[in-house]
């Protein structure tokens, strides 16, 4: 056969690494940034982040980026700028003119145009977000809406993954097989490797335990690593996020060197990470937050039906607060440790008994039970 058809039918496989989508969730909690203003002001952080984004875009022709601000009262897009603003908001923002029509990036011959596009979009959207923040927003909460921002990032990633392989969903047969086995079809897709980087400055995330945990599990399922750069605040929840999804967790000792952290720790994409030893945080705090008071608990109680976590065993009506099923935690309580032997007391009692009976002899002895 080969002798007859001499053409070389060797198909050259595309062995370039797949495009990589980096979704960055920037925690823009003003409280925290104001607190950090002496060591690392927001402006410097953003500038460093822009350099990092450029590095990411430069390391692959098809690489993409998405930036989401997790603000104190809402999660909002920084890049790409949402296309269709609702009429009411556009009229509202008519004066600022920035959100309806993103200004054309300044023409600078010394700047690669894609970089300039990303830069101007992020800067204008972020400044718009900050100007629209009111004091009331800040007074109501000390933390940031990381759960919403994570969901936005995940949905954007899901959408981009679909957009990269438009053939798959158009066929009905594959839709059926996708129902039967989502994992295999996922493997067939033209891969878009995605990852999420959270730059976090706020603590108190435990009150969003449930939405964040759900996002983490979704990311885990889709094999999206969540990287964490924790500039300030307590660490509990996000550390679990990076650990569960196989991402990198970094809490810089010197936030001033943020660019170095970003470049060394977070630049490699999923494909590159297979060949690297990525930095690790070491011990991970695996504690969960309870559903009743949003406290982080060492030892908690879990509903056997819906797996809600409670910090104390006394529940109203012995029913689970979340799903309402009967849940008696009485038996789950550990008994109070008894560290003093009971024997001492016993001895006393025995001694007392003999004392009363012996001197009196039999008649008194028969009399005592009647008193007792």
């Amino acid at each position: 056969m080969n002798a007859i058809d001499g053409t070389d039918r060797h198909v050259k496989a595309d062995d370039t690494p797949p495009p990589s989508l980096l979704a960055i969730v920037l925690d823009t909690n003003p409280h925290a940034w104001a607190h950090l203003s002496n060591t690392l002001p927001l402006s410097s952080a953003v500038a460093n982040l822009l350099v990092f984004i450029n590095a990411h875009l430069a390391s692959g022709n098809a690489n993409e980026v998405a930036v989401i601000a997790s603000h104190s009262h809402k999660a909002s897009w920084l890049y790409p700028t949402p296309k269709s603003a609702t009429p009411s908001s556009s009229s509202h923002n008519g004066t600022s003119n920035s959100s309806t029509n993103p200004p054309a990036p300044p023409e600078n011959p010394n700047k690669y145009r894609p970089f300039a596009l990303v830069e101007s979009a992020i800067l204008s959207n972020l400044s718009h977000l900050l100007t629209s923040t009111t004091e009331a927003h800040l007074a109501s909460t000390p933390t940031t809406l990381i759960g919403g921002a994570l969901s936005l990032a995940l949905s954007y990633i899901a959408k981009s993954t679909l957009l990269h392989s438009p053939l798959d969903t158009s066929l009905e047969a594959t839709a059926l097989s996708a129902l039967a086995d989502s994992e295999t079809t996922h493997a067939v897709r033209i891969p878009l490797t995605s990852r999420i980087l959270i730059i976090s400055v706020s603590g108190d995330l435990a009150n969003q335990y449930i939405p964040v945990m759900n996002s983490i599990f979704a990311a885990q399922r889709k094999r999206i690593p969540i990287d964490i750069l924790k500039l300030a605040g307590d660490t509990v929840l996000l550390q679990q996020a990076s650990d569960a999804t196989g991402g990198v967790y970094m809490k810089p000792e010197r936030p001033e060197g943020i660019l170095q952290y970003l470049m060394m720790g977070f630049l490699p994409d999923v494909t590159a990470r297979r060949s690297f030893v990525m930095p690790s945080a070491g011990g991970v705090d695996f504690r969960a937050a309870c559903f009743c008071h949003r406290k982080v608990v060492d030892v908690g109680y879990v509903c056997s039906v819906c797996l809600s976590i409670f910090c104390e065993p006394t529940l109203p009506d012995n029913t689970c607060l979340t799903c309402g099923s009967y849940l008696s935690l009485r038996t789950a309580q550990t008994p109070q440790p008894a560290l003093l032997p009971r024997k001492k007391k016993k001895k006393k009692r025995v001694a007392g008994g003999t004392d009363s009976t012996t001197p009196g002899g039999t008649p008194v002895g028969s009399g005592t039970p009647m008193h007792g």
Binding site: P30, T39, L50, D204, P252
Partner: protein, 646 residues
């Protein structure tokens, strides 16, 4: 039998259990106001008693009607226990005798009209099926497992790793703990192992299709047949026909000859269910049995009434699939032996083997066929059009609404730091700061190089910033610090990854070498770790048992934990000694080198890894665990001392 004073319908009387003739419950009134009551045990459908905590001790017996007896004697509670105990046995016995009779009575719902029934708590007589299940459960009862020394020994002998650990812990245990205490502690943390081992031992290997296992081998032209006595017995048991052939032919034939002929005969092929071809050996002696049925009395096992309809092959005759347009099915017809003999043979073999297996599904004495629940369970529900949705609906309440007390500024962990600034100040500060970079948007856009502050070729900038005491963003020192931190983390992860690999390959020598410890020290460290974890287990089980009788034990266990600390220290010391020796040797080597060549070699003692530092580093979580155990113990002890004095 047992008798006790009891009230029935507010009348005093005597309740007794009669064992003469038919077993029954009797109640005789003291006065003549009421008739005596007799309840035959066979009629009893339900038996209830008040719980131990209830003030009144009463028994409720449901037969055709419900009778409630309240025991009135001083020892009412004991009487109640005795009576219900005996009754329960009787009922179970009578149920199992009834066998295939009436279906197992379902417990009638408790009537609430009785007034008293509210305090009545179910203590129903178990139907015989659940009774056997309970008996089975009992054999896996915690206390029983702990007492079963034989079981523990057999588990230890079957699990070398566990045995190793057991012996180690036994050797290291303090003298103050007796062997018995040690045993119970050791096993109380491993009840699940005991339980699974008990379950494992309770199962034996069943019989197997012996004819397919025995294979004659041709060696040097001759035929060699390896067949054991057990296999012969099994062949006879599984194939009565072979037994008959053997009986009738072996006196003329020699035993070995019989077997070698048999294993090449057509008879064997038939018994195995293989097709007989013309090329097969002809054996005049054995071939005459070919047409006989292997198992003439096999039919007796087929209890037609016991075959549920939907697995009954005969049923295929009635549900004629051809009429519905399907091709005739030729495998599942009842009388097509010669067509597919192997199916039939295999079926029969399985059936025979299953005979030796105790039934796991349902009660042997239960009603014939199967009960309603099983039948319903086996119905092909998913093919039915309108099937009830039997999922349990999980109603999740909105949690945000449940715990509306969301965090305000003042409840947060960072409240103190945030409270320094008012929201207005925060806002203006951040906006002002950010305006610095976004405001310059007009001209050429942001000059990133200036914004990130990295000035590489100017080394003096660091000195300046150091003198200014304010670390500049992106300064060389901060970048170096960041690099160091990341490198440290990478190295740590690298070590952990090796851990993971080693857990699969179990080559601890490499790990030991990496840490700079000798293999022996490393092994001792592993062992110390294992035993210490063991003792920590004991400590927490006893600590949380809340049993004052074990209070002395806790004290001893705390001493043991102290000793564990000493043991870790001993390992650290030996590791340190090892390292010192290593360093000394290197120094000596260097000296000889200097003497020999007259040159001096650089030597840094710090580059020699290992020693107490490494050991302490590895054992630090363990030491912390011991510390926290002791701390908690001491705190609780102080508190309780305070209470007992007060």
């Amino acid at each position: 039998m047992s008798q006790a004073p009891a009230q029935y319908k507010k009348q005093d009387g005597i309740i007794s259990l009669s064992d003469q003739g038919a077993r029954a419950v009797l109640w005789k009134p003291n006065s003549g106001a009421l008739h005596a009551v007799t309840i035959p045990v066979t009629d009893i459908t339900n038996l209830q008693q008040t719980p131990v905590t209830a003030p009144k001790a009463s028994i409720r017996i449901s037969a055709q009607e419900t009778h409630t007896f309240t025991l009135t004697s001083a020892a009412a509670r004991d009487n109640q226990q005795a009576i219900t105990g005996t009754l329960r046995k009787w009922i179970e016995a009578s149920k199992s005798v009834q066998g295939g009779g009436a279906p197992v009575p379902t417990a009638p719902p408790a009537e609430n009209g009785n007034g008293q029934s509210a305090s009545m708590v179910m203590a129903q007589t178990a139907s015989s099926a659940t009774a056997t299940a309970r008996a089975e459960d009992d054999s896996f009862d915690d206390a029983k497992l702990l007492r079963d020394a034989e079981l523990q020994r057999s588990l230890l002998s079957s699990n070398p790793a566990l045995r190793h650990r057991f012996e180690q812990a036994l050797g290291d245990k303090p003298d103050s703990i007796t062997i018995n205490q040690f045993n119970s502690q050791f096993w109380s943390t491993r009840l699940h192992n005991l339980r699974s081992h008990a379950a494992e031992r309770a199962q034996g290997a069943g019989t197997y299709n012996v004819l397919s296992v025995v294979k004659p081998q041709e060696i040097d032209g001759g035929v060699k047949l390896n067949i054991t006595k057990e296999q012969i017995q099994l062949i006879f048991a599984q194939h009565p026909l072979v037994k008959r052939v053997y009986n009738e032919n072996v006196p003329p034939l020699k035993e070995s000859e019989f077997w070698s002929r048999f294993f090449f005969s057509r008879l064997l092929k038939k018994l195995k269910g293989m097709k007989i071809t013309d090329s097969d050996n002809v054996d005049p002696k054995l071939d005459k049995y070919l047409n006989l049925d292997d198992d003439p009395d096999f039919a007796r096992q087929l209890d037609a009434s016991a075959v549920p309809r939907f697995i009954d092959v005969e049923g295929n005759e009635q549900n004629h699939s051809q009429r519905l347009g399907n091709r005739a099915d030729w495998t599942m017809q009842p009388n097509s032996y010669d067509k597919v003999p192997i199916l039939r043979t295999l079926n029969r073999m399985s059936e025979k083997m299953m005979e030796y297996v105790p039934p796991s599904d349902g009660d042997r004495h239960g009603p014939a066929g199967m009960d309603e629940d099983t039948y319903k369970e086996l119905q092909l529900r998913d093919l039915q059009r309108a099937d009830d949705d039997n999922r349990v609906v999980l109603k999740i309440k909105d949690q945000g609404q449940l715990f509306a007390a969301s965090q305000g500024l003042h409840t947060s962990s960072s409240a103190a730091t945030y409270a320094k600034r008012t929201p207005a100040q925060v806002l203006s500060a951040v906006q002002r700061n950010f305006g610095g970079i976004s405001g310059s948007n007009g001209g050429d856009g942001l000059d990133l190089q200036a914004a990130i502050g990295v000035v590489d070729d100017d080394s003096s900038s660091d000195e300046e910033s150091a003198s200014n005491k304010k670390i500049r963003i992106g300064s060389r020192s901060s970048r170096v610090a960041a690099t160091l931190q990341i490198n440290k983390a990478i190295r740590k992860r690298h070590l952990h990854n090796d851990d993971y690999l080693l857990s699969q390959n179990a080559a601890s020598s490499e790990q030991a070498a990496q840490l700079g410890l000798s293999q022996s020290v490393f092994d001792t460290l592993t062992m110390t770790h294992n035993t210490t974890v063991e003792f920590l287990h004991y400590f927490w089980t006893v600590y949380f048992s809340g049993d004052p009788d074990r209070a002395i034990e806790i004290g001893k266990l705390v001493e043991t934990l102290d000793k564990s600390l000493d043991r870790i220290k001993a390992v650290a010391d030996s590791a340190e000694a090892e390292r010192t020796a290593k360093v000394e040797k290197l120094v000596k080597d260097n000296e000889t080198y200097t003497q020999r060549t007259g040159r001096r070699r650089k030597f840094d003692a710090n580059s020699v890894t290992g020693g107490a530092k490494v050991v302490n580093n590895i054992a630090s979580p363990l030491i912390r665990a011991i510390g926290s155990a002791k701390e908690q113990f001491e705190k609780a002890l102080r508190e309780q001392m305070g209470h007992s004095i007060a």
